[in-house]
Every structure is written in C-alpha cells, then in structure tokens.
C-alpha cells in the first residue's frame, strides 16, 4: 500500500464510504464478533463445569495424581501394584500404548509391503487373495474386528485347567500365554555389554566387507560370521559367569496362573487387530506409490540386466517411498490413535487406564486433558520423525 500523502496528485479524491459498507471495518467487526462468541462459550462451559464440580464436592486440579490408585492392571511393563499412585497407573498405561503402537507400526509396515507387492504380482491367485483381504479389512469397523480377534482367541483356547503345554513351563489358555522368565542376575548386565560389543564388531565387519567389495568387486557372504560375532560374546560371558539359570516359572492356580510373564488375549487381539487393519491401508498406499513410478524406470533397469528383485530394491522402491511417506505418516498416526479402541476389549493402555482413573476420581476433565496431551505428543513425535525422514529422502532439484 502506498500511503495517501505519497500518491500522485492526479489521483481522484477518496470517496467517502459509510463505515458499514467499508470492507475493512466489516471484516474487523465479524472477526471480533466470532472471537467474542468463542471466548464467551468457553467461559460459560468452564464456569459451569467448575460450579458443578464444586457442588459435587470434587476439587479441581491435578492433586489426585499422587493418591493411591487401588486398582489392578493386568499387563504392566514396570512393577505396579494397586497401592501405587494414579500417576504410576497412567504411566503403566502409556507404556502399554507405546508398546502396542511401536510393535504395530513395524508389523503393519511389513505386512503392508507384502500385501502391496502381492496385489501387484503377476500371480492371479495371490493378487486376488490380497484384494479380498484388503477390501474386507478396509470396509469393516476396527472395533468390530477387535472384538472378533478377541473372541477368536478366547474361544479357540482351553480354560486354564486344561491349558496346552507346548513346552515345559509354558501354558496357553484363554488367560493368555504364560511363559517363564529368567530371574534377574547382575551377570545379565555384563551379557548386555558383551552383546553391544558383538554388535559393534559385526558392524565393523560389515564396513570392512563393503570396502573390500569396492576394492575387489567380490561380495562376501558375511551373514553367518556376523551373527556369530553378535551371539558369541554374550554366550561366553553367560557360561564364564556360571550360567545362572534361575527361572521365574508360571504355575497353575485354581482359575489362573501365577509367576512368569504373560501375553494376555487382550494384548494379542489388540495388536493383531491393529496390524491386520492398518496393513490393508499401508498395502494400498505402497501399491499406489509403486505404480506411480513410471514404467520406463523398471524397463531401463531391466534393459541394463538387473534382475526384477534388484530393479525393485534399487530403482522402484526408493522412488516409491518418497511418494508414500506423507500418506504413510497419517496411517501411522491412525494406528497410534486407534490403539485407544483397546478400551472396548479391556487392554489396559493409556485410554482405558485413564477411563478407570476418571471414573474413580470424578476428575474426567483433568484426566482427559492428560490423555489428549499425551496422544498429541505421541502423534507429533511420529510426524516429526516422518518429516525428518521425508526431508532426508527429498529429491534433488536443479
């Protein structure tokens, strides 16, 4: 905008406009009105909620987090008992969410890639099977599928007293899979260190192999030596340290098992459901992005003598993945958020635990605010990582 006093003197004098017809006044007025309405509505809701809470004698604030939770959680990655605080209960829930989301992301990606490639394959039967799978999974509600997995797992397994024992100390029943775990021994720390050493040695071996390939052209088969380098050091430490073999073995009680560790049917159903459902979408995304790579690319690769596998790995997938990253990110976000549907089948992830906490304390607003903030943090982290990956894969333009 040119200020009025700098305008050319020849310009016509500014016409007087009534304020209610002035574009700028109008837009300012409408924006102020909208803002006032939103703020007013929020204030009304907040005051109402505070009023209701105080009438019911519930103190607002996050003080409840320090109080005793006094409810049990079936699956906990960290030691937890009902005597622990609400805060710790929520942490247990968060860890369960992260566990199921993390495992789910990896497994859904692998299954999705297999589905995408199956749909693209020249094998008619394989392609059709993958198509049917994808259409069923995409077109039925996830909650329904979770119930189905859960029922399937419980109905196909025996009651605890008739549990299957595929291995000594392992019990499979409708209570889940119970298996023994080693009792903690300080030697395990040293074994961990030895494992890290082995991994480092194997990585060095890999670098050496690649250098050698660059020098001589001969690709060495280093898979087995590498595996030996990784596995041998911890094994040596284990036996040198007297091979501690105290196991925490589960044993049957009247209706359940105690001791050991377990995979509950709820966890298995949630993981299977999330993976099976999300993989269908990921498969379609990957199929589409592979198709988006022009056919000339694989033709050029074939004409140079590359095998179909090499062409896929070296030429097509690196270009397809760039196209796939944005929609893949939103699928990953969906998977993480959909894990909250576990509330339907009773797996104690963040949302179910929060639900229990909110019911017991009546502080639904605070509890839900915590969950919202946590899911937001998880989602933003996934987005951030995917954006970083996207940037590292960005094509170079002129």
């Amino acid at each position: 905008m040119v200020p009025a006093d700098q305008r050319a003197p020849a310009s016509p004098p500014k016409r007087q406009v009534a304020p209610w017809n002035d574009e700028r006044v109008r837009s300012l007025a409408f924006q102020s009105l909208t803002l006032a309405l939103v703020v007013g509505l929020l204030a009304y809701l907040a005051l109402n909620a505070a009023d209701n809470l105080s009438r019911q004698g519930i103190a607002t604030g996050f003080g409840f987090l320090g109080r005793e939770a006094s409810f049990a959680i079936t699956t906990a990655l960290i030691p937890y008992s009902p005597a622990d605080t609400y805060a710790r209960a929520l942490l247990v829930g968060l860890l369960n969410t992260l566990l199921v989301a993390g495992l789910g992301l990896v497994l859904a990606t692998l299954l999705g890639l297999a589905l995408g490639l199956a749909r693209l394959s020249a094998n008619w039967l394989l392609g059709r099977l993958a198509l049917v799978y994808v259409e069923i999974m995409r077109n039925t509600p996830l909650v329904l599928q979770l119930f189905l997995w859960w029922d399937l797992l419980r109905l196909s397994t025996p009651p605890p007293r008739e549990a299957w024992k595929p291995l000594p100390g392992v019990y499979i029943s409708l209570r889940g899979v119970f298996f023994p775990v080693p009792v903690y021994d300080p030697l395990y720390l040293w074994m961990g260190a030895a494992l890290a050493l082995g991994v480092a040695a194997a990585a060095l071996l890999g670098v050496w192999g690649r250098r050698r390939q660059a020098r001589t052209g001969r690709a060495l088969r280093l898979g087995l030596p590498g595996l030996a380098l990784i596995l041998l050091p911890p094994a040596i430490v284990f036996f040198a340290g007297g091979a501690p073999h105290l196991l925490d073995v589960p044993h049957p009680t009247r209706f359940d098992f105690s001791g050991g560790r377990s995979i509950t049917p709820e966890f298995a159903a949630l993981l299977a459901g999330l993976v099976a459902y999300t993989a269908a979408f990921i498969g379609e995304i990957l199929r589409g992005s592979i198709l988006s790579v022009r056919s000339g690319q694989s033709e050029a690769a074939a004409a140079l003598g590359l095998t179909r596998g090499q062409a896929l790995r070296l030429i097509v997938l690196p270009q397809a993945i760039r196209v796939a990253i944005p929609p893949l990110t939103s699928e990953y976000l969906n998977l993480a958020k959909n894990s909250s549907l576990a509330v339907a089948i009773g797996f104690p992830e963040l949302f179910s635990v929060t639900n229990t906490v909110a019911n017991q304390t009546g502080q639904a607003i605070e509890a839900m605010a915590i969950v919202c903030a946590t899911y937001l943090a998880i989602s933003l982290s996934i987005s951030l990582l995917m954006n970083l990956y996207n940037r590292s894969m960005a094509p170079v333009e002129r």
Partner: protein, 242 residues
C-alpha cells in the same frame, strides 16, 4: 548377431508385428523408419524382451529368446538400450546411474566402475556433470548420459528407440554426434529414428516398416534414391520434403 524369423505379436486383438524377419550382422548399423504405429519400437523392444513375441523366433548372439529368465538376463547384459524419454534414475547421481549396473550385474569393484563411468562420460563430453542429478541436466545432456549408461555395460549391441524425438531441436545434434562416433567405432546398432541425415551418414541397411510389416530393406543409397515400394516412396516424400 541378431536374427528375427517370422516374428508375430498381438496387443489384444490388434496385430502389431506381422511376419517380421530381419538379420543383423556383427558391426552392422541398421536404421528403422516408418510412420508412427508401424511397430518399429515394438520390434526392437522384442530384441531385449521388454516385449514378448508370440510367434516366430528371435536369436541374439546365438541364444534364442524364450521364457528362460536366466537367458533373458544374459541377453540383456549384452544388449544396451537408449530410450526416447531417457529413463535415467532420478534418485541417483549421474555417476551412480552409470555405475549401478556394472556393480550389481557385472560385480565390478566400485572404483573400477567409477573409472569406467568417467571414461564414457568423457566420450559423451560431459565428465563435469558426474556429481549432478539427472533433473539438473538439459535434455541433450540427459540422453548422452543414458547412452554412456548403456555403454558402461560394454554391450555387443546397442538399440536406440527414437533417441532424439523428445529433444529440443538445438540439442539433437549433440546426441547424434555421439551416435555417429559410436557407429564409427564399429558397434552393432539398430536405431529407430527419423533423422534421415544420420541414417545417410552411418546406416549399412535401411528398414522401412508400416502397419507391423517390414515393407522394404535396402542399403541407404538405393533406399533414398530408388525406393521400390509405393508406400516407402510416399513416406520418404512426406518426411524429406520438410
């Protein structure tokens, strides 16, 4: 070196190659021309099995092209191809475009492959572009990179599928110059092209195709001055008048 015997091919119900026969000797340079839809590209794409022929026999370097994947790969190692739209790999640098196949297919040490790539980049006169990505080059430069990429496999035969059709007029010459040099070095070549100046300069044999059939084969002097077939005459009249 290459022999096609009564090759037939259909796309759906439409026949695109009708009893095509052609013999190319080692070191021979063949230029294929004809109106669009004549089956020129389809024919040379059958030679390295980018298209599958349905009847007849194709022999390349004594090996018959069948469904045998190992034999197809063996033939593709010996047959280089240059495409109309270059088909460079956009996610790899020029140097990596050139070294990819020698490293993965020929199992060549990386350093040796890079030396070889630089040698051919110098032959196509763009060694300074080695570190760039294809999208940073002009069309003519991209096509020269594509030629160098095919040469890095040290092929016995080079197939060119309308290599200058997608180029701006001022870039056609730089690509043709490289092709002429290659022809003079004794490479066995089959070129689908409408560059008749190039054809006159290097071709040992002209092949005219129309509607899936080989209508006429002749050495260039007779082909251009005294074509026997009416359709060849019509076609030459149309493209040489320009």
């Amino acid at each position: 070196m290459i022999e096609l015997r009564r090759v037939n091919k259909w796309f759906g119900g439409r026949q695109v190659l009708k009893d095509v026969s052609l013999t190319v000797a080692r070191g021979e340079r063949v230029v294929v021309c004809g109106p669009s839809g004549a089956g020129k590209s389809t024919m040379i794409r059958c030679i390295n099995r980018l298209e599958e022929h349905q009847q007849g026999e194709i022999f390349v370097d004594g090996i018959e092209l069948t469904g045998d994947v190992k034999q197809i790969e063996a033939i593709r190692r010996e047959v280089g191809m240059v495409f109309q739209h270059f088909n460079l790999f956009p996610h790899l640098t020029v140097l990596d475009n050139l070294t990819l196949a020698p490293i993965w297919v020929r199992r060549m040490p990386r350093r040796e492959a890079e030396d070889l790539a630089m040698l051919y980049l110098e032959r196509v006169r763009i060694p300074e572009q080695a570190g760039k990505y294809p999208s940073q080059l002009s069309g003519g430069e991209q096509q020269r990179v594509a030629i160098a990429r095919a040469l890095c496999m040290k092929p016995q035969i080079m197939l060119f599928d309308e290599p200058t059709s997608a180029l701006d007029p001022e870039m056609i010459k730089e690509v043709l110059d490289v092709m002429v040099e290659l022809a003079q070095s004794g490479m066995t070549m089959i070129c689908v092209t409408h560059e008749m100046g190039f054809a006159r300069e290097v071709a040992d044999l002209m092949v005219f195709m129309d509607q899936g059939e080989v209508i006429e084969t002749a050495p260039p002097d007779r082909f251009f001055t005294a074509p026997r077939n009416e359709r060849t005459r019509l076609f030459l009249g149309r493209i040489l008048r320009q």
